[in-house]
Amino acid sequence: MPCNKQLVSKKSFLVSLVALSGLLFFGGCGQQLPNNPYPDSVANEKVLYSSFAERPKHLDPAVSYASNEYAFIGQIYEPPLHYHYLKRPYSLEPLTATAVPEPVFLDASGQPLSSDSPAEKIAFSRYGIDIQPGIRYQPHPAFAKTPEGDPRYLNLRPEDIAQIDTPADFTHQDTRELVAADYVHQIKRFALPDLHSPIAGFLGEMIVGLNELSSALKKTMVEQPDVTIDLADYPLSGVRLINRYRYEITIRGVYPQFIYWLAMPFFSPMPAEVTHFYNQPLLQEKNITLDWFPVGTGAYLLEENNPNRRMVLSRNPNFRGIPYPSSGTEEDRQAGLLADAGKTMPFIDRAIFSLEKESIPVWNKFLQGYYDRSGIGSDSFDQAIQFGDGLDASVTKALREKGIALQSSIAASTIYLGFNLLDPVVGGYSESQQKLRQAIAIAIDMEEYIAIFRNGRGIAMHSPLPPGIFGFKEGELGINPLVYDWHKGTATRKSIAAARQLLVDAGYPAGRHHETGVPLTVHFDTAASGPDAKAFLDWLRKQFAKINIQMVARSTDYNRFQDKVRSGQVQMYLWGWNADYPDPENFMFLLYGPNSQVPDHGENSSNFQLAEFDQLFEQMRNLPNGAKRQALIDEMVVLFRQQVPWAGGFHPQNFTLHHSWISNLKPSHLAHDTLQYQRIDPELRDRLRQAWNRPVIWPLVVIAVIVILLLLPALYLAWRREFRLPHGNRQ
């Protein structure tokens, strides 16, 4: 029957579909689960599975300045200091250094001063750092030497590297002891003009001699463009090598926050051999660069760097091993965070980070046990989290049964809705302009925003300082009295009527200019796109409509948006700041006049310039935490509330979930070397994965049967056509 040819082929398609699913099923009968996204061979090793959403742009510690990059290089590079894993408030402790350095103050002629000298007499501060001997780098070809003692892979020829794709492909790998000179070399690298370090400008103002070094290097590059620069030939007056294990950094004036910088990856050691090795043009042509293949002394090394698919960290065989901290709070003890006290870290052998660009697959794979930890998107929130009567969060029953646990913490960040104070309408410092901003601040209901978009994860902003940072005040003393009233033990937002009255005082009765009658329109600039952004803009429009102001959202691409912020063309924008270090200076400087976006491209995107505020800031900045500093901060906060450079904002609360097989987790927003502390129970994980992911096959069979049943009448019809219809005379 020729007519059934298509039907047969369709049927055979179905058969092959069933066969295919059978194949999957029988594949699943072995050890490998058919939906396991990882190769079988690594099932029972101590491997952590995690994900990353965006390809890290830089892994060179002098250039990298993003938290997603720190997730990798924080495990590889070791700056002299780091944050204690458990202690809160965050405290610094030595990592490769022997102690946290105390500054020595110097006067203008370089003579030491006593530590209680007045700030105006101090011209320089000097930090001396001692490095522990015996720390060794990860194996790397840059350290390999010929029998004569010369670097083995320095003047490579094309035929030498024909088979080479990564540094690990070189036959000879070696290591070397960490010395103070490596730290000095790294600081000098900030002056390299073609490195484009994001903090070069900032450090140049701070570290003595760095700007001079930079101009010297630039001069050389212009005059002798073909010469390869060896930083050893260029002195840096502010950074001195004292001996094999000690170096000193001299900075201008007093800057107590400097020691926090010593805990950031910027100040990691960089051996000169390594930079010489990577500077070879032949290697750069093969994409073998320092930005791609880091070399450090930390607990892990980057085994595989394929950001198109996955990044793999594995244990550094030369790592000295650090003991797990044995001090912590009583809470930490109860949470089992001290069970490993004193044991040698790291506990995990490898960490595999897979690329996931969308949030939905990450969440589903976490539920299947293929990721060990996960954040919670606002849309899967109700599935994961429930609130008890006391409003404390816990995971839902379904997740608790899987052994999933929750950790929450308030991030040291502030996300804010800023005004541009240079704008003729919403900017300015006159009383009516202040009132306009106050009215908007009341109208934009941040509590509702947090409830709708963040499921209550966050606290509305009352001052620039997030909780956990010195100067933050809780309760009635901490509320912003211009926007809130203290009512029955909670901060209650002032009524819309009050906002409308402020608007009348500001000269915009019912949202129109009191003289011209022109309706007031406020522009909100944003680079965000996607469904969440749309919902946010709809919501924001509603907030402005409450006081009859029209809001127009101007969405552009990120570049354009940044460009507008930089040139002061925005009216309102949403921006956030994550703390570099736990100090109020790091937040208040966002409103410091000399730090304005216009014209200095500083971080003060609101271009808030108030002489009084700046004066207070300059006093506050250099003080140690204490009553005097608190008083200054309070004065600054009063000015901030009165002038309203930011219409509102919040401090996000981070919820992370983790499975029962991972332990020693404590959220930290400043520590970067967190991987080595964590512990994994691979047997438990494997057992639960097997239990959670049994393939279900019967729906496919059902579907196949239904399709066949549906086809039967068709077959009949076909038969009838072919035989009964008048023109169907068979040959």
Partner: protein, 463 residues
């Protein structure tokens, strides 16, 4: 009585003039016997008749929504002497006015269809203190004092709507009987499918009446993330969808038709030039081309229209430019098809014969080629029409779709991406957008099928 000042947007003018021109052509055409025959043939098919009526309803909604004005409002300053009348700050459309009962009833966040409570727990302040619970909605079912009575209330309102629908339908039914009798008496063949028309109408009236009874006091189709009524959003999207489909096709058709047939028929230099043009354009991956064009257009808007334009005007301009860009990049597919088909047609005997007799090229094109291409154009147009409505969602994903403030199916579907991953699932936005879009696309398809059969010279011979 609400008075206001007419404030038509550019797209309003376009859609109105298109409708008027289209309607006039149609009515004038009906004076021609052949045209009348064709229409009779189309409308004799029940599915085509139903589709035709539904398409008219969509068009009506789009037209209602394309009549923007600024409502009059009294400016209160407390002192009667300075109080004055002036027009509102935002343009609203006639449709907005009709839908006031669901336009102005925004909740805080998600709520399910016909729900009394919000969809996710919030902090609720009660007499005993703060608790996390499902909050009672501000508008949805606010008149229901006892939540247990909701179903009874729904039933009462539903049946009232049903009754009203019957009352409306009674005279329509009589009219229908008259029509049927009239068509039986006339000699015309085939008969117009009045039964299908009546059934469609009855369905629409029923849905409308019941919907009207329920949609004010409740959120008939739930609310979205920021508490807007989904039914309102769905209805407002009709205009956006129709505009994107119709205006884009309007831009792209002349390009495709003229260039495609010319290239295929004349060949040689013209063919080379056309091929160069569309190969160059289509070599650039579509999304990239559209993205780059939309981004630069937005840049232009930002630089030149900061102060003048209101929210709607801005969104409207963006929409127009988007359709222009889609049209300028979208003609290639059809053009290629037409060229290939013309390439084939010009070798046919009657065309070569006509050429041999010295018939002018333009005449051959119009008389011999175009009629044989009509069906191809129509099919592509219908497929493109629905594809364009869908393409909007993809463009939104890349971030270059219609203005985010604009209500559209694409924006609703794009939000549904997150809503589908929610637990419990939020399905009503997607379902609403899908149902409305599906109806439009299906109607366009069914109607086009009938039109194709009526247009195709070979098929007509069969009847």
């Amino acid at each position: 009585m609400i008075s206001g000042q007419l404030a038509l947007l550019i797209s309003d003018y376009l859609i109105w003039s298109l409708t008027l021109i289209g309607g006039a052509t149609l009515l004038l055409g009906l004076r021609n016997r052949l045209q009348r025959e064709r229409w009779r043939m189309i409308l004799s098919r029940p599915p085509a008749m139903a589709a035709f009526i539904l398409l008219l309803v969509y068009l009506l909604i789009a037209l209602l929504d394309s009549t923007h004005f600024r409502p009059l409002e009294i400016r209160q300053t407390g002192d009667p002497a300075t109080s004055s009348k002036q027009y509102g700050t935002t343009e609203i459309s006639l449709l907005d006015l009709l839908l006031n009962r669901i336009r102005l009833t925004d909740e805080r966040s998600y709520s399910a269809p016909l729900a009394l409570y919000g969809y996710s727990k919030e902090q609720v302040v009660t007499t005993t203190g703060n608790r996390r619970d499902y909050p009672r909605l501000k508008y949805g079912g606010a008149h229901v004092t006892d939540p247990a009575n909701r179903n009874r209330d729904l039933l009462t309102r539903g049946s009232r709507g049903f009754g009203i629908a019957l009352l409306i339908l009674l005279p329509v039914f009589l009219l229908y009987r008259l029509m049927v009798r009239a068509s039986r008496l006339s000699e015309n063949n085939p008969r117009i499918a009045w039964a299908a028309a009546f059934a469609t109408l009855a369905g629409l009236v029923l849905i409308g009446a019941v919907g009207y009874q329920l949609a004010g006091p409740y959120h008939l189709l739930g609310t979205d993330k920021v508490g807007q009524d989904v039914l309102y959003l769905g209805l407002k999207s009709i205009r956006t969808g129709m505009l994107i489909g119709v205006l884009t096709l309007l831009v792209m058709l002349p390009f495709a038709l003229i260039l495609g047939t010319a290239a295929g028929y004349f060949g040689g230099r013209i063919d080379d030039a056309v091929q160069y043009l569309y190969t160059t354009l289509s070599s650039i991956p579509g999304v990239l081309l559209i993205a780059a064009a939309v981004l630069s257009v937005n840049l232009y808007l930002d630089q030149n229209l900061t102060e003048v334009a209101s929210l709607q005007q801005r969104a409207d301009l963006r929409l127009l430019l988007l359709t222009a860009i889609l049209g300028l990049t979208g003609w290639i597919g059809l053009c290629r098809l037409l060229r290939a088909e013309s390439l084939k047609l010009r070798e046919l005997d009657y065309v070569t014969a006509a050429r041999a007799f010295g018939v002018a090229d333009v005449r051959i094109l119009i008389r011999h080629l175009l009629p044989n291409l009509g069906h191809l154009v129509l099919i592509t147009v219908v497929i493109d029409f629905s594809g364009l409505v869908l393409a909007e969602a993809v463009l939104s994903y890349v971030g270059v779709g219609v203005d985010p403030s604009m209500i559209s199916w694409g924006n609703m579907i794009n939000s549904a991406r997150l809503e589908l991953a929610r637990e419990p699932l939020v399905w009503w936005s997607l379902a609403t957008a899908f149902a409305l879009m599906f109806t439009l696309v299906l109607c366009a398809n069914l109607f086009a099928d009938a039109v194709r059969d009526a247009l195709d010279p070979r098929l007509r011979g069969r009847q």
